[in-house]
C-alpha cells in the first residue's frame, strides 16, 4: 500500500497543474456539446495534443502526441482536469478509434483517425435495434454485398449524435445462415448518403440526445469493413467493454456527493440546514460510505491495471454499483429539497440549474443502458462467481 506517486509522475502532475493554471482561460466553458466542435474547442484540443494532454497515446502519424502508454499519466490527466474544472481534451471517439488502431487497414487509419482526433469528424454508433437490446447479438439490420457495395436495410436505435455525425460505425448481419454471433460484420461509412433517415428520439428528460436511424437500400463502400466478414461481434466487443467501463465512474460519484453536501448545507427547512435534519443526514452518511467504498475500489482497479493484472470482481461491479449510487444521490437531493426538488427546466427557484432531476432520470437511463442491471447481475454471477448459465430451453416450449 503506497498511495504516493513516483517522482516522475509527481513532476508530470505539477507540470500539468502549471499548464492548467496558465491556459485554463483559453479552454471552452461548459460541457462539450454533441456534434461539431466549435473553433474554440478545436484550438483547445490542438493545444492539448501539442502538450500531450490529449490524444496522448495516438501515434504522431495519425495526429496524436505519440507517447508510450502510461496508465498513471492518464489517471493524473483525468484527475487534474476534473479538479481544476477545465474541459479535458479527447482521443477522438473512444469507441471507434481504438478499434481502428487495432484492426483497421492502414488506409482507414490514415484517412479517419486524424480528423476524428481533431474534432473534424464526428461518429455515431449503430449497434442497438428496437428488437435487440439486452440480446444485442440477435440484431437483424442486414447488409448484402452487391458488387463493391454493401446494401443496408434495417433500423438502429440509441444512435446518439446521428443528426450531427459525419460517420457511422455499425453492426449489420451479413451472414444470415451463420450462428447469431458469427453472422455479424462491422461496417464504417459516411452518413451523407441516400437511404439513411435520422429521427430524433426524445427521452424522459425531454431532450433528444438519441435517435432512431433507418436504413433503406442504403449503399456503402465494400471496403468500409473492419475485420473480416462475420467477425463484427468480436470487433465490437472491445469497444463495448470500453463504453461500459466509463459508466459508474467513482470520480463522478464523489463529485456529485460533494455537490449534495453543499446543497444540504445551504438549503434550509424552517431555518434548519438540511444536513442537520437527522433523517436526511442519516441517508447522506449511508451514501457517503458507499461512495467511499467505490472510490477505493477504483484505486484497486487502477492498481491492478498498473500491474497488468485482471482486476476481476472489483471491475465487474463498477457499473451496477456506480449507476445505482448516482441515482440514489440524486434521489436524496430531491427529497431533501422537497417541492423545490421537483422544479424543472427554467423554473424560478430551481437549484443547481435542475441538474438533480435531470441526473435522477439520466442515471435511471444508465442503469438500463449499456447492459441493464439484470444483465450485469447475470455477468457477475456467471463470469465472476462461476455460477452456471441458464440451461438451454426447448425452442417453442
Amino acid at each position: 500500500m503506497d498511495l504516493a506517486y513516483s517522482e516522475r509522475h509527481q513532476i508530470f502532475r505539477s507540470e500539468l497543474q502549471q499548464f492548467l493554471k496558465e491556459h485554463k482561460d483559453s479552454a471552452p466553458k461548459g460541457r462539450a456539446s454533441i456534434g461539431k466542435a466549435s473553433d474554440e474547442a478545436k484550438q483547445w484540443q490542438q493545444l492539448l495534443i501539442k502538450r500531450g494532454y490529449a490524444a496522448r497515446y495516438i501515434p504522431k502519424k495519425y495526429g496524436g502526441y505519440g507517447a508510450e502508454f502510461d496508465l498513471l499519466e492518464s489517471h493524473i490527466i483525468a484527475e487534474e482536469f476534473s479538479r481544476a474544472n477545465v474541459r479535458p481534451g479527447h482521443s477522438g471517439d473512444e469507441r471507434v478509434v481504438p478499434v481502428l488502431l487495432e484492426l483497421g487497414t492502414e488506409k482507414q487509419k490514415q484517412e479517419l483517425i486524424e480528423p476524428t482526433v481533431n474534432g473534424e469528424m464526428i461518429w455515431c454508433q449503430g449497434y442497438s435495434e428496437p428488437g435487440s437490446g439486452s440480446d444485442l447479438a440477435s440484431l437483424s439490420t442486414k447488409a448484402v454485398l452487391e458488387g463493391d457495395e454493401w446494401v443496408i436495410n434495417g433500423q438502429k436505435i440509441w444512435t446518439s449524435g446521428a443528426q450531427h455525425a459525419d460517420m457511422c460505425f455499425c453492426l449489420v448481419r451479413t451472414e444470415p445462415d451463420a450462428p447469431k454471433h458469427q453472422g455479424i460484420s462491422y461496417l464504417i461509412f459516411t452518413m451523407d448518403r441516400p437511404g439513411i433517415e435520422v429521427r430524433p428520439l426524445v427521452t424522459m428528460t425531454g431532450e433528444a440526445i438519441f435517435n432512431e436511424t433507418f436504413f433503406t437500400d442504403c449503399r456503402v463502400p465494400a471496403d468500409g469493413i473492419v475485420g473480416k466478414r462475420g467477425e463484427g461481434w468480436f470487433v465490437a466487443n472491445a469497444t463495448l467493454q470500453h463504453e461500459r467501463g466509463s459508466l459508474g465512474d467513482p470520480n463522478q460519484t464523489e463529485s456529485r456527493l460533494r455537490s449534495l453536501v453543499e446543497l444540504m448545507k445551504n438549503e434550509t427547512i424552517d431555518g434548519t440546514p438540511l444536513i442537520k435534519i437527522p433523517a436526511y443526514r442519516d441517508r447522506l452518511m449511508r451514501l457517503q460510505a458507499r461512495m467511499l467504498g467505490m472510490k477505493y475500489n477504483g484505486m484497486r482497479i487502477l492498481t491492478a491495471y498498473l500491474k497488468k493484472e485482471e482486476p476481476g470482481l472489483p471491475r465487474w461491479i463498477v457499473k451496477l454499483q456506480g449507476c445505482e449510487l448516482n441515482h440514489q444521490i440524486a434521489a436524496l437531493a430531491i427529497d431533501a429539497m422537497g417541492e423545490l426538488g421537483v422544479l424543472y427546466e427554467d423554473s424560478p427557484y430551481i437549484r443547481d440549474a435542475g441538474m438533480w432531476q435531470k441526473s435522477y432520470m439520466l442515471d435511471l437511463g444508465l442503469i438500463i443502458g449499456g447492459g441493464t442491471a439484470q444483465i450485469q447481475k447475470n455477468m457477475i454471477g456467471e463470469r465472476a462467481l462461476g455460477l452456471p448459465k441458464e440451461p438451454k430451453y426447448q425452442q417453442g416450449a
Partner: protein, 361 residues
C-alpha cells in the same frame, strides 16, 4: 363487516375511469402538456358534467354529498389517467377548508360554485408544512402580505385559500390587485403549482380557522389522502404496463416476463402496491366515520405511497428497458406525476415525523 367498495362506488369509479379513458387519452395529455395547459377544457367540461367536483359538498350546497372514500376513488382514477385538470386543491382541499373553517355565508357563496365548476380554487398551505423560500405570510387589517409557494392548482385558480403564519385560512381573489402569480415549472406538466405573492391583498378570513388549527390540518389531511390516491392510480398503471410489456417483449427468443429477474420485479411491484390500496380505502373511510384516526393515517398514506410509488416508477421503467427511458410510450408522464406527488404537501421524511407526532410519540 364489509371492507370493500359498494356497488355504487365501483360504478362511480368505473364511470369516471370510463369517461377519462375515452376523453383523456395519452394523446390528449400530450397535447395539453405541449400547450402548457393544466386545465384541459374538454376534460374539465366532462368532469364538471359528471358532477364529481361536488363529491364532498353537501347536497343543499350544490354537491353530491358523498364520502372521502368516493373522493379517493376519483383521485385514483385521475392519477391513472394523469388527467390535466385541477382537482385536489379545488374540489377537495378548498371545500374541506370552507366546510370546517368557513362561515355559513362563505360556504353558501363558494361551495355551489366549486361544485358546478364555475369557480376553481387554489390552496396554499406549504409554509405550514415546511418553510423554505419565503419570509412568511402575514394577515393584518383585512389584507394578506407575503409569499405562498407551491399553491396547489394555483395557476388555474379564480380564487385562493391561503394559510397565514398563524395557520388561519383566508379567501383571496386570485385576480385582485396585490396578487401576483407565477407558474413554478415542475417535472410533472399535467398539473400546475404556483408561487403567489401578496401585497396587501384583500382577504376574507375563514372565521373558525382564526384560533383553531383544525381547519388547516383537516385541509392538509384531505390533500394528502387525495395525493396518495393519485399516486396509487398512477403506480397501478405503471405496474400494468410493465406486466403487459413483459408478456410481449422478446429477448433471447423468450418473452422477458419468463425470466425470473423480470418476473420477480413485477411480482414485487404488485405485492408492494396491493396493500396500499387497502391503506387508502381505510384512511379515506376514517375521515367520515372515525375522524380521530385520520391524522396519523393520512400521513402514513401520503408517505408510504410516496415510497412505494417511487420504487414502482423506477422498476416499471427498468422493466421497459430502453423503451421506458424514451418518450415513445409516454411512461414518463406517470413517473413524473408520482414524482411531484412525492414532494407536494410534505416529502416523506417530514410527513413520517408528523405521523409520529399525531400519535403522541
Amino acid at each position: 363487516m364489509e371492507f370493500a367498495l359498494s356497488e355504487e362506488q365501483v360504478m362511480l369509479q368505473d364511470s369516471v375511469s370510463g369517461y377519462l379513458k375515452s376523453s383523456c387519452s395519452l394523446d390528449v395529455v400530450r397535447e395539453g402538456v405541449a400547450g402548457g395547459i393544466t386545465k384541459q377544457a374538454d376534460v374539465w367540461q366532462g368532469i364538471c358534467d359528471l358532477g364529481i367536483l361536488g363529491i364532498i359538498i353537501p347536497g343543499e350546497l350544490g354537491g353530491v354529498d358523498m364520502g372521502f372514500l368516493d373522493a379517493a376513488l376519483i383521485a385514483e382514477a385521475l392519477g391513472r389517467a394523469i388527467a390535466p385538470i385541477p382537482f385536489i386543491g379545488s374540489a377537495i382541499m378548498a371545500p374541506v377548508a370552507l366546510l370546517s373553517g368557513g362561515s355559513e355565508e362563505q360556504k353558501e357563496n363558494w361551495l355551489p360554485k366549486i361544485a358546478s365548476g364555475d369557480t376553481v380554487f387554489g390552496v396554499g398551505v406549504t409554509e405550514q408544512i415546511a418553510r423554505r423560500e419565503t419570509d412568511g405570510i402575514v394577515y393584518s387589517d383585512g389584507t394578506l402580505s407575503g409569499k405562498a409557494m407551491f399553491v396547489v392548482d394555483g395557476i388555474d385558480a379564480d380564487m385562493l385559500i391561503i394559510a397565514d403564519d398563524s395557520g388561519a385560512l383566508h379567501i383571496v381573489d386570485a385576480n385582485s390587485s396585490g396578487v401576483t402569480r407565477r407558474a413554478l415549472k415542475t417535472i410533472d406538466k399535467t398539473r400546475a403549482v404556483a408561487e403567489i405573492v401578496f401585497d396587501a391583498a384583500e382577504a376574507d378570513t375563514l372565521p373558525r380557522s382564526k384560533n383553531d388549527k383544525e381547519p388547516l390540518l383537516k385541509t392538509i389531511d384531505a390533500g394528502r389522502i387525495m395525493i396518495a390516491a393519485d399516486t396509487l392510480g398512477a403506480a397501478q398503471v405503471m405496474v400494468e404496463q410493465a406486466v403487459a410489456y413483459a408478456k410481449e417483449r422478446k429477448q433471447f427468443d423468450r418473452v422477458i416476463g419468463s425470466f425470473q429477474a423480470v418476473k420477480h420485479m413485477c411480482a414485487e411491484m404488485a405485492s408492494d402496491l396491493e396493500p396500499c390500496r387497502s391503506l387508502i380505502w381505510y384512511t379515506a373511510h376514517t375521515v367520515n366515520d372515525m375522524p380521530e384516526e385520520t391524522r396519523a393515517l393520512a400521513c402514513h398514506a401520503k408517505a408510504h405511497l410516496s415510497e412505494v410509488g417511487r420504487d414502482i416508477a423506477k422498476t416499471a421503467t427498468e422493466v421497459h428497458g430502453g423503451m421506458g427511458f424514451t418518450d415513445l410510450l409516454g411512461l414518463h408522464y406517470w413517473f413524473k406525476r408520482v414524482g411531484l406527488n412525492r414532494q407536494l404537501l410534505g416529502s416523506p421524511e417530514l410527513v413520517r415525523e408528523e405521523a409520529a407526532l399525531a400519535q403522541g410519540w
